[in-house]
Symmetry: C2
Subunit: 469 residues, 2 copies
Amino acid sequence: MAKVFISDLVLRDGHQSLIATRMRTEDMLPICARLDSVGFWSLEAWGGATFDACVRFLREDPWDRLKKLRKALPNTRIQMLLRGQNLLGYRNYSDDVVRAFVKKSADNGVDVFRIFDAMNDLRNLRVSIEAVKASGKIAEGAISYTTSPVHNIPYFVNLAKEFEAMGCDTLAIKDMAGLLTPTTTAELVKAIAAVVKMPIHMHSHATSGLSAMCLLRAVENGATILDTCNSSFGEGASHTSTESMVAALAGTEYDTGLSLPLLQEITAYFRETRKKYWQFESEFTGVDTRVLVNQVPGGMISNLSNQLKEQGALNRMDEVLAEIPRVREDLGFPPLVTPTSQIVGTQAVLNVLTGERYKSVTTEVKNYLQGRYGKAPGEVNAQVRSIAIGDAEVISCRPADFLEDEMDKLLGEIEGIAKSEEDLLTYAMFPELARTFLQERAAGTLKPEQLLPAGSNLSCGPFYAPNEF
Amino acid sequence: MAKVFISDLVLRDGHQSLIATRMRTEDMLPICARLDSVGFWSLEAWGGATFDACVRFLREDPWDRLKKLRKALPNTRIQMLLRGQNLLGYRNYSDDVVRAFVKKSADNGVDVFRIFDAMNDLRNLRVSIEAVKASGKIAEGAISYTTSPVHNIPYFVNLAKEFEAMGCDTLAIKDMAGLLTPTTTAELVKAIAAVVKMPIHMHSHATSGLSAMCLLRAVENGATILDTCNSSFGEGASHTSTESMVAALAGTEYDTGLSLPLLQEITAYFRETRKKYWQFESEFTGVDTRVLVNQVPGGMISNLSNQLKEQGALNRMDEVLAEIPRVREDLGFPPLVTPTSQIVGTQAVLNVLTGERYKSVTTEVKNYLQGRYGKAPGEVNAQVRSIAIGDAEVISCRPADFLEDEMDKLLGEIEGIAKSEEDLLTYAMFPELARTFLQERAAGTLKPEQLLPAGSNLSCGPFYAPNEF
Ligand SMILES: [Co+2]
Ligand SMILES: [Co+2]
């Protein structure tokens, strides 16, 4: 019996991190029988940015993808990434939408729900966790790992205990930026394993080249499920390669029991598949340790760089990189992950380009300072808050407490166009996009964005890197 | 005081493994001041395939490169890789050539000589080790690591002891194919550290994605010098990224003490530099674990694939891959590294394409079976030997014992064209090439091979991967 289990991320985080979430369902299905026979603990295959990319770029119905994957993977758990009360969208949803979304995801095939909140504010996760439990599926609470003066091991241990108290079945340590070092991983996993019974599931991006060592330390200290990605979509902004980890643990007390030749067949398939998406490749896919020095995740840097380029201000990049930690401190040290990475990044750009800090303040920062994203991990800067929102009310309750049920309202908006509750939920996530999508689907005119043939001169615009999950 | 030291490979093995050894001296010099200030144990910067590439492709004088690097790196040891009695060429040289080559290398700036033999036949290393000791430089004996029924830990421990007895100052464990796993590394290093006093210097290619974990296990078990490569030329067929290892060990008892921000400045420089050489990039630079299953190093596979393509027989690749371990067994399990990788690979291709094993036998295999490369690690197949060489004599002494001093003869051949002993030694390595090179140098007509401008359609032929060092 294997002592360590593997979740393979090739169908979600792998292509999200390396080719801007562009892999199409048609390229997943032919290899599913092989994937299904490996014996993974789960295949992460839905959620994160895939839902958005399906509707926006691939013009695929994300629910249809889920149904097809479910059918093609009868023996393997399908795992999804869910942003708590934000679900797969970019705002807080009312509780009835959260419940409906989780239920439909479960009905259509999701077995494991990994649920996180950018602030680690557990109030933003309660309803979705309850909904997963109600559907009889696996609720995985995810700690958004970061470093800051207010983030330390007792802080994360406490989060883990609270996740367990909320009924989570497993606990993910989600190191989206590749900040964990082997030593910190060892201390963190050991401390958490000492106080919770839930299996610990490690997720550490390979960005800074430390993830394989972190996974090794994690299993030595009590983690039993590892997130890795088939090497065809592994390393760099993605994850440690599945085959490498299987080989590293083979013959040890942590042997995964998975077949390397079988995994290599899958690798051969996806290596060819990846070529089709060459236009979405980053220029550099290797190791980048800058996050360990400047604390700014790689994906955020490429997005900022595109943002500055558009404004002809690429030469201000160093100032923006220096401003980001200051804005983050002003906001009470939120982990930098969707949506806080965008909130902090955009404000930092404004602070630099306007020549005066907080001269112009984004709506998102105002909402943040009003508590509308939840409780900040540390203290927010009272002076900055005063500049930004004056005397406006700061809420201390759960942000979604202000939201009334909205399923009926949404249905009213999209009636006749949405053909199912799934369609309605797609509309709830991305109203404008989804309306067009559903109309074109009905008219049979959906067209995926074009893929450039191999050897074309690349002339598409910059795309924003959604690699912060 | 740092407990672990780093040798950075960016000036030799890094570009040799990733861009076919094409980095030019002009691209090394501007960053040398920075490299020199890091505090590396050594910078590997000469030998291996660089000498060949300088003369053949870059039309640079390799000795001139060494002199310039020596001047630009006043505070850092320069390390080279030397193939024992083969020096940097592809045959055995007489002892006077070996002594002259080592002396001139030392005179011109090499501080550390890493010396290996493809067969691990220490008789092929004795003269060069003696010559290094005579020059007062550091002699590093290198074990060519491999796996086979005759290669086990006691075998390697014994090699290590013999290296120490021969007067080596340090011991390299050279895992050129990325075959080491973390567990084996731990056992091997521990066993060797228990019996030798020499510092242990780990060299493990990142090909299969295991090297970072191996380096971690190595330091835990007594290795004190690690080979890593700046991330700009790290990972894949190259090595674990220097920055990652520095970050992984920072704050532990194995702290390297090196500055991450300084290393990142170097990274920024080389990332830009690498773009200039895009035409030499492999299609896929990620993790490849196939060597762990089929025992055939990645570089060998790409060379074979080019060889088969040229003969319109790419469809026989699987048969060749299956034949390689059989040929290797027939030859008594030599490690697969230059030149044995070529010897085994080419014979395997012949065995497949002719439709009958050993129907045609290469001269190299005949010489091998006569003992002219040294003693095989295991027993050679007597039947195959009989087919290949009939009753021809099999030597049991050191192959170079048959060679008379040849410096005078070489000088006679190249007199007037060679302007120095260095030139003579260049001629000794690659006679044809060097003659033209020296003549063109005299005429001022040396032209490096052309680099394609960015965005060109790639239309150059396949190049053979020299990534087996
Ligand atoms: Co992720
Ligand atoms: Co090497």
